[in-house]
């Protein structure tokens, strides 16, 4: 799955989780999830469980910090890293 596709899916997830944030989808990717969207523990955990289910990954414990999920770019990097790690494991 390429970076762009991950990003589009992620933006859809975030639009659904922050419906009243005042950000259009095309600028959501530049928002700070904590400062601009008000991400709290509820939405943070919701993001985790949804990306794990949709992308078929498990976010490692040491990455489970809100600070690591401040932007779409941050989350895309995490998802890509875990998908890649999963492929390496499956092929070895």
């Amino acid at each position: 799955m390429n970076e762009n596709k991950i990003k589009l899916i992620l933006i859809d997830i975030l639009s659904a989780l922050f419906p009243d944030c005042g950000f259009d989808k095309d600028i959501l990717e530049f928002a700070d999830l904590m400062d601009d969207l008000g991400m709290d523990s509820i939405t943070f955990i919701s993001i985790i469980v949804k990306i794990e289910e949709i992308f078929g990954i498990i976010v490692p414990d040491d990455m489970l910090l809100m600070e690591n999920f401040r932007s779409v770019k941050d989350i895309v990097l995490i998802v890509e890293h875990e998908i890649e790690g999963k492929h390496v494991e499956e092929n070895s």
Binding site: S41, I42, V49, K50
Partner: protein, 401 residues
């Protein structure tokens, strides 16, 4: 390193209580002693890891547990570790049942919510997708009616509830011939779920109840999958069982649990106070391979109705917690007995050493708190004779005789 090895390495380096010199290099549980609530209560903040001593409440989440044991305990979590621990439970809720933290939920707790004018009214708080109800306020018909009205107006996805409260709510709906709210999911926790209640909920509402076993000390310990098997949340805890000082990975005995995330206040081989039956790891139709908990025996919940109001462990726990919060935790242990013949409630209280001379103040405040909740006619006697405290923690802290 596994999560267990990471936790044991952490406590050996950062926690003076768990730092046992001959075990510095031992990253297994085998030789570690079992601790219980008495030990943790006595230690107070000495069980906190060094980097968390002196930290204020902004960095730590504080949970208070007492429930049916009559032993108040404050549990501290680093916010980050608390999220990691909660994610373990939410993963299963989402994968099994499609429930996420943003699903609309009705839950029950001891938070006071002073949004009402009379002691008979429902105390609740609504924020975003969460409707939180003070469970002690559900002790009379008026409050139950208010809950029904609230639920009619809201579209609740799921209910998180103790079995005794669920039973009370179901009985109210049945008695008044009202249709039970159409929710997707009901999860029970905090008490033993009887097959009778499970079957009644299914029969009258069509909803299959899911049982979750957890605690403030551990967060989620195990949860039932859609196939009815109670899976240990092995990403969050290690569960063993002990009988006669012999700890095993399978069998029946006291639940001995190690939390894999709480660095602030680690619980390593902690006797949770329940008796469980634990199987070896096995594959389930749900797709997960875990140890299963096949039976849980907890303390019985007792209740008595006085002048139309229910008096049970939830009320008593809330009253004691209110006094403890007000007076900085003088009450160390408690048992309450309601004598039907004398229509009298007797509280057996053990105070902390520091508060030994506060008996009169504590009694006054306990009486005030019962009165605030509408039990003004209740005949209450408070007894500070230590010898009368029931240290047999196998029975509930509230008994009716």
């Amino acid at each position: 390193m596994t999560n267990l090895e990471i936790m044991l390495k952490y406590v050996s380096e950062h926690n003076s209580f768990y730092r046992i010199s001959e075990m510095q290099e031992d990253l297994t549980l085998e030789k570690r002693p079992i601790i219980d609530r008495f030990t943790v209560q006595k230690l107070k903040k000495k069980i906190l890891s060094e980097e968390y001593l002196g930290l204020n409440s902004r960095n730590l989440i504080t949970l208070i547990t007492s429930g049916s044991s009559g032993q108040p305990l404050r549990v501290y979590w680093d916010v980050k570790d608390y999220y990691k621990s909660m994610v373990c439970l939410w993963r299963r809720r989402y994968l099994y049942y499609g429930i996420s933290p943003t699903s609309t939920v009705l839950n029950f707790n001891y938070n006071l919510y002073n949004n009402v004018s009379t002691s008979d009214s429902l105390r609740y708080y609504q924020r975003k997708n969460i409707l939180s109800v003070n469970k002690a306020s559900l002790s009379n018909e008026k409050a139950m009616h208010e809950l029904v009205v609230l639920l009619n107006d809201m579209n609740i996805d799921w209910i998180y509830v103790q079995p005794s409260i669920l039973e009370r709510i179901l009985n109210y709906y049945l008695r008044h011939k009202i249709e039970f709210p159409k929710v997707k999911y009901i999860e029970t926790a905090g008490e033993v779920l009887s097959e009778k209640l499970r079957n009644n909920i299914l029969y009258y509402t069509g909803i299959t109840v899911t049982n979750m076993y957890g605690s403030e000390e551990m967060n989620g310990i195990a949860i039932e999958c859609p196939y009815g098997n109670m899976h240990v949340l092995s990403e969050n805890v290690i569960v063993e069982c002990a009988e006669n000082d012999c700890v095993t990975q399978t069998g029946k005995g006291s639940a001995i649990i190690t939390n894999l995330h709480n660095r602030a206040m680690p619980f390593i081989r902690y006797n949770q106070g329940d008796v469980i039956s634990l199987s070896e790891m096995r594959m389930c139709q749900c797709g997960f391979c875990d140890q299963m908990i096949t039976n849980i025996e907890g303390r019985e919940r007792t209740a008595v109705t006085i002048a139309g109001k229910i008096l049970d462990t939830t009320i008593i726990t809330e009253v004691v917690e209110s006094v403890n919060n007000l007076l900085e935790y003088p009450i160390y242990l408690y048992n309450f007995v309601y004598l039907l013949s004398d229509q009298k409630l007797i509280g057996y209280i053990k105070l902390e050493e520091l508060y030994k001379k506060w008996e009169r103040t504590v009694s006054q405040e306990l009486n005030k708190e019962f009165k605030k909740r509408g039990y003004s006619g209740l005949n209450i006697e408070i007894n500070y004779n230590d010898a009368k405290i029931d240290y047999n923690k196998k029975q509930s802290m509230f008994i009716v005789r």
